[in-house]
């Protein structure tokens, strides 16, 4: 019995954090946030060289053959550095391709295809969005599509309840969110062909939500680390603020909320890897748990920083906004909890 990250997984996370320490240092994130393409490309290249695209592709298909637990370890590191990356889209594509046994896995690993992700309408349809499918042709628009920059293909949710692989559409309009590091688009389809249609399985949705939870885990951990460090430096009333019981308890409450979330995410990922029936339930609950914990930590860590936390000077807001966006991605906490309830037959 061993409930812990393996040596390899720790190594994976450490080396990735090493890469991100430079390629996604705060000054790089600042550049990316103001649209510096060179900085964005440099980070993208660094992560490609690291081999993230191949992570979840079976070795037989030229990948690393790793699983959901490895993926959340990676996503946590990305969140910790507030690093934009197409990894989430790629990991979800790998999961879907593996489930539907297609021959796109090799191309995905080699970088031959790079997929964007347009799943929003699986969870929320409005503003006339939605992708209709007729004779395997896709038409309509998807809101808040992810990782469309530089994508050759896109995985998009159709109104037929299935997820379609298609060539990335040309009609892209930026939808600017509070998080300027990650770019979202409105994607307009006009007859692009669906080269693959797979069921939007509960496992796939659960895995997608789990990745978001892991991203928030990393971002929230970063905010706690920064708050504790700031509290050890900042002097007020003749003492470091970290010696005030109120500040100590704020930090303790953040840690007490976050730590179980880490274990829950590991457990959910392992359950998905082993096909444990509880896996999707745990993954949905992990998304909801981290959305709530993240909201609390984002606010509390900012309060520990006082006025500095509100300014752009320390850049704390990049993590605050990342957590804020993650809360809404792939469905609200309430939707994730309701999904968990349905999986257990608690709700119709």
């Amino acid at each position: 019995m061993e409930f812990a990250l393996s040596e390899d997984q720790r190594l994976l996370q450490d080396s990735l954090k090493g890469v991100l320490g430079t390629a996604a240092a705060l000054d790089q994130i600042r550049k990316i946030a103001v649209g510096d393409q060179a900085a964005a490309d440099a980070l993208d290249a660094a992560l490609s060289d690291f081999g993230l695209a191949a992570l979840m592709v079976p070795e037989a298909e030229g990948g690393l053959g790793l699983g959901a637990l490895d993926a959340v370890v990676v996503q946590e590191a990305l969140g910790y550095h507030a690093a934009p990356s197409r990894f989430m889209a790629t990991a979800i594509a790998s999961f879907l391709f593996k489930a539907s046994g297609t021959d796109y896995l090799g191309a995905l690993a080699s970088g031959g295809i790079r997929t964007g992700l347009a799943l929003t309408e699986l969870f929320s349809r409005r503003d006339g969005a939605g992708l209709s499918v007729a004779q395997d042709k896709l038409s309509g628009k998807c809101l808040l599509a992810m990782s469309m920059d530089g994508a050759s293909h896109v995985l998009a949710a159709g109104t037929d309840g299935r997820i379609h692989l298609a060539a990335a559409p040309q009609a892209l309009t930026v939808m600017q969110t509070i998080d300027r590091t990650r770019i979202f688009h409105e994607a307009g389809f006009s007859g692009e062909g669906s080269v693959l249609a797979a069921e939007a399985s509960p496992e796939l949705v659960a895995f997608a939500r789990l990745l978001v939870a892991a991203d928030t885990l990393g971002a929230a951990q970063a905010m706690i680390d920064k708050a504790v460090a700031y509290a050890a430096e900042r002097q007020q009333f003749g003492r470091v603020i970290g010696s005030f019981q109120a500040v100590k308890h704020m930090c303790a409450e953040m840690a007490a909320k976050l730590e179980p979330g880490r274990a829950l995410i590991w457990h959910a990922a392992h359950a998905l890897d082993t096909g444990d029936a509880e896996g999707p339930v745990m993954a949905n609950l992990a998304k909801a748990y981290m959305a709530e914990a993240g909201t609390f930590i984002a606010r509390t860590a900012t309060e520990v920083h006082g006025g500095m936390g509100f300014t752009d000077l320390v850049g704390l807001h990049y993590w605050y906004k990342r957590i804020g966006v993650n809360r809404q991605l792939f469905g609200s906490p309430e939707q994730a909890r309701e999904a968990a309830a349905r999986l257990q037959g608690f709700a119709a």
Binding site: S124, R126, T177, Q236, R239, F310, L329
Partner: protein, 397 residues
């Protein structure tokens, strides 16, 4: 308990509303931008003339010269809100400096500053907080060294809004570094055109520069700018700080935001369901409405205390803590209700309410921190409101 007003006041309300109706064509519009816009200044002067601005400022200093009357002040505010006619000018000069001058300024200072300030011809900014002195304001280190009839100022200030537009600054500086921290501070005013002043916009998490940093390098200013006395600045500042605290957490502003949220939930639909039909969102909305009603009623209680000249006690001490948090929570529910589209922030087809919910969700967090963090507020409530012991003195390390 009596919530309606005496006939005298209802008559006053009618009079105000008539005045506004009669003159609204003279009011500035969205075209009339900027601080010294002629039309806005003319409008301000007209409002003063009718006792709708600077109402209690003596005529001698350019005010209307009316007697203080909290109810009439409230009626005026309500009528401006109801009629949507542009209200009087605000700003730290009018809300904080002028009351201070009236209380502690010399006749010369009153003559020189009050009229142009209330008429909008003279803009002020405030120099209190410093990077090293946030919650612990009295720890400020910006130094003012005597040199003949002048002080020479070195240091920096932060959280200074309107620094770029301001003609003048009112500022706290340390004139006696040897005295106890509250006793070596002086409240001084001087022109922002004085050589040696550098202004750096302070971008915050909302992405805009709502505030500035101001740097002083050998800034030479005349002692005549001191308000009241040298080394008495802490007492001078506290008179106006209380004003500032009062400005945060206004329950009527909170109610207005709540009503926007109600409209949002009535009009937005997701997956073909109106947001108001979602029992989880509706229950959260009702939770917030209870707090909105409660803070409004709490506000009425405070107004009554002020009318009677009584201290508002706990009812007053909690306003900043509860009010700012409630605003933040209203914005949070609005964002959650909008779901995926709640994260949008910039111009675009799908943006709701110009992204103002996200802006408020961030800016309100700034207000939770600013003007005394939530932790400071809780200390105040416990110590002043509940009579609990102050933080005990520490042993010298």
């Amino acid at each position: 308990m009596k919530l309606d007003l005496d006939p005298e006041y209802e008559a006053f309300r009618a009079e105000v509303s008539e005045t506004l109706a009669k003159n609204r064509h003279l009011a500035p519009t969205s075209e009339d931008k900027g601080y010294k816009n002629a039309k806005r200044i003319a409008w301000q002067k007209l409002l003063i003339e009718h006792g709708l601005a600077a109402r209690t400022i003596p005529k001698a200093y350019g005010g209307y010269g009316g007697a203080p009357d909290i109810l009439k002040a409230r009626i005026i505010a309500e009528e401006f809100a109801r009629s949507r006619v542009p209200g009087p000018m605000a700003g730290q000069g009018i809300s904080m400096l002028v009351p201070t001058l009236l209380e502690l300024g010399t006749e010369a200072q009153k003559q020189a500053y009050i009229r142009p300030t209330i008429e909008g011809e003279m803009i002020w900014c405030q120099g209190y907080s410093e990077p090293g002195a946030g919650s612990d304001l009295a720890a400020l280190r910006t130094s003012a060294v005597e040199d003949g009839d002048d002080y020479v100022i070195n240091g920096s200030k932060i959280w200074t809004s309107t620094a770029k537009q301001a003609d003048m600054i009112f500022c706290l500086v340390r004139t006696d570094p040897t005295a106890k921290k509250h006793e070596g501070i002086t409240y001084i005013t001087f022109p922002m055109t004085t050589p040696g002043i550098e202004i750096r916009p302070l971008v915050d998490m909302t992405g805009t520069a709502n505030f500035n940093e101001v740097f002083f390098t050998d800034v030479r200013v005349p002692k005549s700018g001191v308000i009241f006395e040298a080394n008495k600045g802490w007492q001078v500042a506290n008179a106006t700080l209380t004003h500032e605290r009062g400005m945060l957490g206004d329950p009527n502003a909170t109610k207005a935001r709540f009503l926007e949220l109600v409209t949002l939930m009535k009009t937005e639909s997701v997956n073909g369901q109106c947001l108001m039909e979602n029992p989880l969102l509706r229950d959260r909305l009702m939770k917030l409405q209870a707090e909105v009603y409660a803070m409004q009623a709490n506000g009425l209680r405070i107004t009554t205390n002020r009318l009677k000249g009584e201290p508002a006690g706990l009812a007053g001490l909690i306003v900043k803590l509860n009010g700012c948090d409630l605003n933040h929570e209203i914005a949070r529910l609005a964002i959650d209700a909008l779901g995926e589209l709640g994260i949008l922030y910039e111009e675009g087809e799908h943006l709701r309410a110009d992204g103002s919910w996200q802006w408020r969700y961030m800016y309100d967090l700034g207000l939770i921190i600013g003007g005394g963090t939530a932790q400071i507020q809780k200390n105040i409530i416990a110590e002043r409101g509940l009579g609990m012991p102050r933080e005990p003195k520490l042993a010298k390390a």
